[in-house]
Subunit: 156 residues, 3 copies
Amino acid sequence: MTKIEAKLKQMGYELPKVPMDMKYWARCKRAGNLIFMGTTGPWPIVNKTVKGKLQGVIGKDVTVEEAKFTCKMSALSILAALKNELGDLDKIDKIVKLEIYLNGPSGDADPYVAIADAASELFIELFGENGRATRTVTPNLTNIVAELDMVVSVRD
Amino acid sequence: MTKIEAKLKQMGYELPKVPMDMKYWARCKRAGNLIFMGTTGPWPIVNKTVKGKLQGVIGKDVTVEEAKFTCKMSALSILAALKNELGDLDKIDKIVKLEIYLNGPSGDADPYVAIADAASELFIELFGENGRATRTVTPNLTNIVAELDMVVSVRD
Amino acid sequence: MTKIEAKLKQMGYELPKVPMDMKYWARCKRAGNLIFMGTTGPWPIVNKTVKGKLQGVIGKDVTVEEAKFTCKMSALSILAALKNELGDLDKIDKIVKLEIYLNGPSGDADPYVAIADAASELFIELFGENGRATRTVTPNLTNIVAELDMVVSVRD
């Protein structure tokens, strides 16, 4: 087992199964040393009780605590998509950009920042400073609580 | 005529005229082998009846079928902008990222996915696997039904 | 003083102090010659009366004129973040992509374009054609009037 995956296991996480065979879009597309990724939602994590809600409006149907869990599920899902693409998460150099899409009304930044931090915290615990990405948090179009995509750089 | 444009013609499409001389922003900006693009809306296609509606809220003023057509118009418009920049669409290596902005309320993903697929289908028919981009579908700020931008890589 | 900063001063602007030590995200992340940036809001400009409103809905709590000023504040703030990262703004080759997040309801494009232009105008006055970036204007999730992020290329 590679270093990053061993660390993930040690942190108590496992990667969900994420479909990679979409007809009309790709999860990963490489250009030079950059991998651009498609928006990835929260895929169920095997052997874990799903504590996050997948759909609903933050602050109305879904609490901030629930949304943080959903956001973390999306973070693990996008790592699963990257592993599928790269074979090995140790090939990741750094997360360059993290885009987080949250399903909530325009309003006070604090709860949204807290939800986004749940994903960022996971990446930083895993990759250190290389996981502390530039970040954008914008409204989701669908009723999924939290989705994300990112741009990562990979080692040669 | 180049291969991609011949294929486009064979598919029954032609490229609309898209203005390239905006004072405050650019349609294309190149960095290395990547071309980043500005958001491009649906420009009218000569000799075609415009079946899509340009403005309105999806699901209220505009049906999903109409929005699919508008999304395809934006796809053709952004190809026109790329041709203007590159001279020849055969220089495109692949579409790395496709961002689609739809004017509709937060809700069920299915109709929005169907609308986005209309643009993706066109790119895949044209470029094969190289047209199957990573994709993000987010809310539009303006009342234009469907707009898009993308990142493409070009051949040296 | 470097050329770009001298020009900025000559234009009557100064750079605000922008925090760079966020725990969970980074303002800048470099990959090759590209710098991706995190979303940056309007930081107060020393010695200037803040004429823009920081929070509120455009068209309801905030006029277009006020939002233009706020958008310009965010433009100066992101330049401050870049200076902090690069040491010297003369290292910027060009602004490749500019993403602007505005807090307003979906609607007529004209006022939003005018607000976004306030940031673009500043970058173009400063960097010429290299400041005329590709541009996306989308809804903000938070109640901050205008925020922005960008991708820039830097000289070797």
